[in-house]
Symmetry: D3
Subunit: 131 residues, 6 copies
């Protein structure tokens, strides 16, 4: 699939591009969006979801970018890692915070497999109380 | 493998159990540690790493528990999810923060696969500048 | 490991290469097979399985290539993605079908993690009736 | 987290529940939606995306449910597997089609790792031609 | 899908069951095979592959069961873990060997993510020399 | 993040580098360690764990490197694969052993998904007897 540039895009795609550029105050959208535009329905849904969930909310935007990066590291998605790490930094994450997040991700991936291997029963204190 | 209770544990294992109990101000260690004690070397290393990385540092401890939970959700590790979500709450995470984290994890897993599928080249602005 | 070309191959490996070339009406086998030939037992088993399962059956061959590609995208296997997407196209899949499949894969990876996070109990209507 | 029933739901959540019930001609929504309602923003986005992508389009709806199930099997998401396999059947997939899909998923997961291990270079015929 | 018992099985399936029973000197096949028999082609291919690869070869059979278990732990496949751990023990693996294997798997899953996060370039000494 | 060379390293990092160089009888540490040094706490913990677990124990060191490589192949971690395969060879693994291990890893990844799909109940003979 080829990336779709603004001048070649349908009206539907251009509307999303315009909204991304306005929201992020940038002159052009990143390659991710230009490729995703091959499926305009997903382009719209992904952008609408990210716009709402990654902005101000209950967690600091920099923290949300760090969580996004943590998933990308676990899944080995390189484009995702560098793009969201860049955004984490732009929103205030320091090198110290990023390095500590990486350590937590690494330890979690280790203990996840220790749990897979030994299958400890869930302790009573961890049982979720349903109403 | 069977869990190893304190009274059956070797001196090496007891020392780790004692340290966990002192650090967490609890009367007994969780099942995870009792099963991991079947490999005393890993018991020691995992505890030493978690003790140093999950305590006070550059990220808020509640945030680190949320990141840990984000990895557990991505990997579908149920014991890990409930134990670290419980700890996230104990350290101050609210339901609103947890639900927002879950949304971010879900979106990241979606966009990771869109990147796998379309393989957009990394934008110049995301390239990590090496000295 | 190095790829094994026809002229350097053992009789056992050549027999598989010949069968692939005849079945696919090609002059040479792809790199995947030349590397897999380092383990001639697997070369034989993988080819025999793919030959039987990917040909005519209960699903259209183009659909089976799309399912194969869906797994490759989930696992981030690049060689697998491009080779099976090429075969999907050769067997009749259009760009529209491929883009829609990619959207489904992305959504499935998202909802999989929402399920991991919230662990909804299986609805009665979904329980598989065993005889 | 607890499931949110219709009578306890906010107006925003009820609107989504009503739309799901109307679109699927059912009296109540499944557990997945009742738990996801803890994060109403994701509830809305996920439903809007699935409604648009899983209905009529370029691939047969039964095929899209099979692709969804293929991802769930790869990721070991049990709720996802049984719910989408049920929907695949409701939309016309037979046992023979499901079993063949499972075989393709298994083979793809095997060959993905053979590629990870041998790292064959992408054959020239598979290179995606960019305009 | 339901398991297929010997008395309900087709001739093709019975032939595989008979071969498994003879090779393993058991009176009945395990549940894995009874369910896989819903797709007789895969039943045959999987059995033929396992029979050839898991028996005597270049690695000790107990070691091959440990490697199989290591993958099952990484992927969180519970049936696979317990069945191959049982076979590892039957072929001579001790608790000490199993616990050490589990430790190696956990450490590998941790360092894999550290590599995903920091992306160190491959050292010259690790480059595979192709002829 | 940039790699940290010995002459730029803190005393804490240098101590780990010195220990690696002494233990492995090498003049310089690999890139993995130079990048990991950005988080000196993890550098120390990862090295201490690997030093203890990958050396002489209950499994042959070459076998442990093969298990490490098996996980790297499953997770598609390229740096991990080539570095541990190199070490497996240095510790005595032959090409035949490596190819057989790769075959086992591929088969395990296939049967893991067949289990995910058919969900066979665990046979009584595989149930772990807890004291």
């Amino acid at each position: 699939m080829n990336p779709i540039e603004y001048h070649d895009a349908s009206e539907e795609v251009r509307a999303v591009y315009d909204d991304i550029k306005a929201a992020r105050k940038v002159d052009d959208v990143n390659n991710f969006w230009k490729y995703l535009a091959n499926e305009p329905r997903m382009l719209r849904h992904v952008w609408e979801s990210l716009k709402e969930m990654m902005g101000p909310g209950h967690l600091d935007p920099a923290i949300k970018e760090l969580i996004f990066t943590a998933v990308a590291i676990t899944n080995n998605c390189e484009y995702c890692r560098v793009s969201h790490m860049t955004q984490a930094r732009a929103k205030g994450a320091t090198d110290e915070m990023i390095n500590e997040m990486i350590g937590v991700v690494a330890l979690a991936n280790m203990t996840n497999r220790l749990v897979n291997a030994y299958k400890p029963p869930v302790d009573e204190m961890f049982l979720e109380k349903k109403d």
